[in-house]
Symmetry: C3
Subunit: 222 residues, 3 copies
């Protein structure tokens, strides 16, 4: 398992170094934006904004690192991500739409973070020796985790569960599964990874635009 | 400690293999049912149901595995449990009582999950070299954890804290402590384990039926 | 890294043994008090009180231990802390102010726990080989974590985010950063550690008394 992981780390080295870090960084920026915008909507002060932005941006990755046994998690050892999340907070603090107009930008930023993290999360899990199906699962958890933390802290029902919400977990699972297939067949590269992320983001945004919804179990049969 | 753990794993091998896996699987099914029923009550769609069912069914075990340092947690490496939770979601989606009648079945399923997980959680912790009292504590956390995650995600106060609620943590602690005593004296077997689980389930159901409640700190003395 | 950690553990030995354990224990008592008082306010029964007191008192340390890879966390192996939290629950159960007067004592106990845990959390992270800036970050997370768990379980928006709330994360970060500087320059001792904790507590209490608040991002510029 460790040998496989080492091999994979070697094979993926260029892709990971080029795409993985920039993908993670973009995901952090997108989720930090969504956290900071929710904070604006809830009238939090600048420190509350920073806490919510950082929890959202780093939370999914921290959960993933704990689950694969990478301690301390990258978010605490490589402070680039934290710094990026704090810079995003500052920018949103000074330039943001009015509270009631934050919903659109928040959901777009959230979709971008979702798409990027389902890919990078799957890659991190896979390079830590987790099998492809489990890696896809961990990738989905990484992608969803940050948003769930944001919504729990911000006092709203998580997007992933909201009954009036369009497909959310499905795009994340789709992106994670695509990445796992790419990894399994050894064709994961910088551009295929970004393609998978783009598909997941497009899927989520289309689901929002056209209100693709899953059926509810409304009518009892028992 | 590791030697003790190895020895215990050996001694418990038959009991663990027979009872542990089936106990865990039954616990997963029971908690997945409770999560899916809460999702029905909250009018979630089928994917929200799946997320809530899986979080409830696997959450307690994931917390326990993280606490004893077993990474990645069993829920991510052995996909039997996840599959079971998803099958339960499907069944509940097609056959369930009307939303307002879900409370009873939800609480019965929850009691069964609680009783099974306090036993299996204690065994897993103990076989990882944790001392008997700490193993009982971890067993209780395993049993309670899934339900707390379900209630937090579903936007309600956790059962374990609800002021109008009958004894909840106490049956879990009772089952976990009984199991720890059985393990400590080397008399933990498939049937004694199931007995401990049954006692905990009966305790919880009786507490519900007869509304056994603990005193509240209502009247100030200061 | 491990060698550094070993060295640090050696150097800090007297300070850690004298101050660290008593600091942690005092922090546990303070946070258990805040959890038990919130439970009184929410009319929970004695077991709900115990769960909330223990989650608050031990939660931050458990999160920290998981993040630095110390499993099982100290709270599960050294039952002194749990026992202390349970004794606090008993005391608060029998002697507490009326529910509507719990707010002041709750916030004072919370400030004391916050100040003590930002110091002890930073020390634990640092002695586990984490760099000084990351150790400060983990110290802040330890200090804030317990209160966040308490507020989430108790069904209220976490103090650290509440918009009507005075500076909360900043005193914790201040205490953690001070401790990290002390550790980095090798002048961390029992008394300097307690001084850092006292400064953080004083900072938080002054922030409450004089309602020091951070600016909100209320006025849109976009």
């Amino acid at each position: 398992m460790s040998a496989v992981a080492d091999l994979m780390i070697g094979q993926l080295h260029s892709a990971v170094q080029a795409a993985q870090r920039s993908g993670e960084l973009l995901g952090v920026i997108a989720f930090a934006t969504s956290g900071a915008l929710l904070a604006v909507r809830k009238n939090l002060d600048i420190f509350g904004m920073a806490v919510l932005a950082c929890s959202t941006a780093l939370g999914g990755g921290v959960i993933r690192d704990l689950l694969v046994g990478r301690t301390p998690p990258a978010a605490f050892t490589d402070l680039t991500y934290l710094t990026a999340a704090l810079l995003v907070t500052l920018v949103i603090f000074f330039r943001h739409p009015s509270a009631r107009l934050t919903r659109g930008p928040l959901e777009i930023a959230d979709a971008i973070g979702l798409g990027l993290f389902c890919v990078t999360g799957t890659v991190v899990a896979y390079t830590h020796g987790v099998g492809a199906p489990s890696a896809a699962l961990l990738g989905m958890v990484t992608a969803i985790g940050g948003g769930v933390i944001r919504d729990l802290l911000g006092g709203q029902v998580p997007s992933v569960l909201r009954p009036d919400q369009d497909l959310y977990a499905v795009p994340a699972l789709f992106g994670a599964a695509t990445t796992a297939v790419l990894l399994h067949f050894g064709v994961y590269q910088a551009w295929t990874g970004f393609l998978a992320a783009s598909l997941a983001i497009a899927f989520r945004l289309l689901a929002r635009r056209f209100q693709w919804r899953a059926p509810q179990a409304r009518y009892p049969t028992g």
